[in-house]
């Protein structure tokens, strides 16, 4: 890794320079919530945001998109991808993208996701946890790769970690904006990280988690929460690692049709429905439990399917707390 410093006074110029790489999106505050929006002026950015409602997955795996268009009886691919810069991703969201990568870039790669991913620059930014965050306990609070540049806040600027060749190129082409890192900067970086580590209020105890949950398959806790749950699917939509999609064909006129896909949710009754009205997850309990099992599945190559971003808690209308459910289910084993 190469480390370099971006002094505060150069931030604006650095940000403008990114426009040469593509349209720049960054977190902005709209009403009470944050979201990634196209930004032209650095003053619009909410640098100290906690989390956006929709995670950055929306740039690669769209809430709704036409994947194929029917022209003269044949499907034409719709592979437009614009060069894009995603500025200000938190570490957990970078980890979330890595989990999506494992699914969507795995053979056979999803060409829509892939072309957008290849055309997008990822710039991370350091953050302070709020009451919902539990990424530290999952090891996703620090990104070691998966970004081009990562900006860590210093009292007078940013310590920049360069994570890719493209990251090097940006720094190279704007050499005059950067300085070498001093011992004082390193001390400040260390202090920030230590302060941050202490600020986490929530954690998932990981010891034997996956097995404990499996053993607690018939726990009454699942039932208790399934009864509170509204089955709205919000938690799926806002989750940076949820990626189920539904497909349908839609006629535009008598001659052309599009094949559209859109986010689906495992809370929806028809998620596991097959022919003859047979449902593999017929009850809300089945579906509620399935989501928790899916999120807590541990893949040796990419870890859990949850990165601890806290979105599902913050945006759950029934105020169901992810960590609390896991703890209670685990506790019910005693």
């Amino acid at each position: 890794m190469r480390y370099i410093k971006l002094p505060s006074e150069n931030f604006g110029k650095f940000f403008k320079s990114l426009e040469a790489w593509g349209s720049v999106y960054a977190p902005v505050k709209r009403g009470g919530i944050y979201s990634f929006q196209e930004v032209h002026d650095p003053a619009e950015i909410a640098l100290d945001y906690n989390r956006t409602m929709l995670p950055p997955k929306k740039f690669f795996f769209r809430p709704k998109e036409a994947i194929l268009r029917l022209k003269n009886g044949h499907w034409e691919e719709n592979l437009e991808a614009e060069p894009t810069v995603l500025f200000g991703l938190h570490s957990c969201d970078i980890h979330g993208l890595k989990i999506l990568d494992r699914v969507y870039l795995d053979e056979p790669a999803d060409p829509y996701y892939k072309s957008r991913r290849e055309k997008t620059l990822i710039i991370g930014i350091s953050c302070m946890p709020d009451e919902y965050c539990f990424c530290k306990s999952l090891g996703t609070h620090f990104a070691m790769d998966g970004f081009d540049l990562f900006l860590h806040e210093l009292p007078d600027g940013w310590l920049v970690r360069i994570g890719s060749v493209r990251g090097h190129e940006i720094v190279w082409e704007n050499g005059e904006l950067f300085e070498e890192v001093t011992d004082e900067d390193l001390a400040n970086f260390k202090e920030f990280e230590e302060k941050r580590a202490k600020a986490f209020q929530k954690e998932v105890p990981q010891e034997g988690l996956a097995d404990m949950l499996d053993l607690a398959y018939n726990s009454p806790v699942w039932k208790k929460y399934a009864e509170i749950c509204l089955a709205c699917g919000n938690c799926n939509l806002v989750c940076p690692t949820c990626r189920c999609y539904e497909v349908c064909d839609r006629w535009m006129d008598a001659y052309s049709s599009v094949r559209e896909r859109r986010y689906d949710s495992c809370f929806m009754e028809n998620h596991g429905l097959v022919a003859g009205n047979y449902n593999f997850r017929p009850t809300r309990l089945d579906r509620f439990r399935h989501r928790y099992y899916c999120k807590s599945y541990f893949d040796p190559s990419s870890g859990y399917n949850c990165v601890g971003c806290g979105r599902c808690d913050e945006f759950c209308p029934a105020k169901i707390e992810h960590v609390k459910v896991l703890e209670e289910v685990r506790g019910s084993l005693k």
Partner: protein, 291 residues
């Protein structure tokens, strides 16, 4: 060929045959000779059929890779899309992508006995195995235990009756159980009293002994069937690793992306479309919700 896994290839319907009142057999061939030449599959794999502008659905391949130049699908009319396909005629074109899934490990089973247990529509993927085994002659003996509702519901009836009569010469013995009595069934039962009976598929196990170290069981049928059939096999001490079953789930992509076919819990999650649809009973013991 396209890099896009969602792109489908034109295939012409060469023949449409009524198998029963609900199932039709479609024989297809790819229009593009290059696609046709490259398309290879294993028994137990499936394709996604694309009715452009209406949607897609997964269907097992019921022909055998030993018989090249065409592809057969047995499609039951159950809903919107399958109803649409049933209206299609010889000469019409559909889209096909695949083949998908793992299929049965045919090489690994060479030299052994195969016990095929089919319930209803489960006969479709197992027909591919059956013909593969007969055509290659690489398996010692093949039993087909087939449970069906009524005489009118027997899929590939001509072929089944042919095997009842002449299967011996091909090292293949067919047994049939039907649930609803009819004159045709009684006639069949009279002709093959040792192999045709009224009952369910598990009744066909009665009196059957097989060398559990040299046999594999391959099961396909409705979800309720698995538990009972597996019990019969375990009672005869067949190892769970020698019991293969092919499963069904809602599928959209067929390539491990859309998430619909995922089953399991925090310790083991499987994509039916990619990790399956063929699983062993060991898999079912380690992955909840598989059967």
């Amino acid at each position: 060929m396209s890099e896009n896994p969602y792109q489908t290839y034109d295939a012409r319907i060469l023949e449409v045959k009524d198998l029963t009142s609900r199932e039709k057999l479609f024989t297809l061939r790819f229009l593009d000779p290059e696609v046709e030449a490259k398309f290879d599959f294993r028994p137990g794999q499936f394709v996604i059929v694309d009715i452009r502008g209406f949607g897609e659905f997964p269907i097992s391949i019921c022909s055998s890779p030993t018989r090249r130049g065409y592809l057969q699908l047995c499609i039951r009319k159950v809903g919107r899309m399958t109803k649409f396909v049933h209206k299609m005629k010889e000469g019409d074109v559909v889209g096909i992508r695949g083949p998908y899934g793992n299929g049965f490990p045919m090489e690994k089973m060479e030299g052994s006995n195969l016990i095929l247990v089919a319930g209803g529509l489960g006969m479709a993927p197992l027909r591919s195995v059956l013909w593969y085994a007969i055509d290659t002659g690489k398996y010692e003996n093949v039993w087909l235990l087939y449970g069906t509702k009524a005489y009118e519901d027997i899929l590939f009836r001509d072929e089944i009756i042919h095997l009842l009569k002449h299967g011996e010469a091909m090292n293949c013995s067919v047994k049939l159980a039907y649930e609803v009595e009819s004159p045709s069934c009684i006639y069949l039962e009279q002709g093959f009293s040792d192999r045709v009976c009224r009952g369910v598929v598990t009744d066909l196990f009665r009196g059957e002994e097989f060398d559990v170290n040299r046999a594999y069981a391959l099961i396909c049928g409705p979800p309720v069937m698995y538990k009972f059939v597996i019990k019969e096999l375990l009672d005869r001490k067949l190892s769970p690793g020698r019991i293969y079953m092919t499963l069904e789930r809602r599928m959209r992509c067929g390539v491990g992306k859309c998430g619909h076919c995922v089953v399991g819990t925090s310790v083991s999650m499987k994509y039916i479309c990619q990790d399956g649809p063929v699983f062993t009973y060991w898999d079912a013991l380690s992955t909840r919700g598989l059967i």
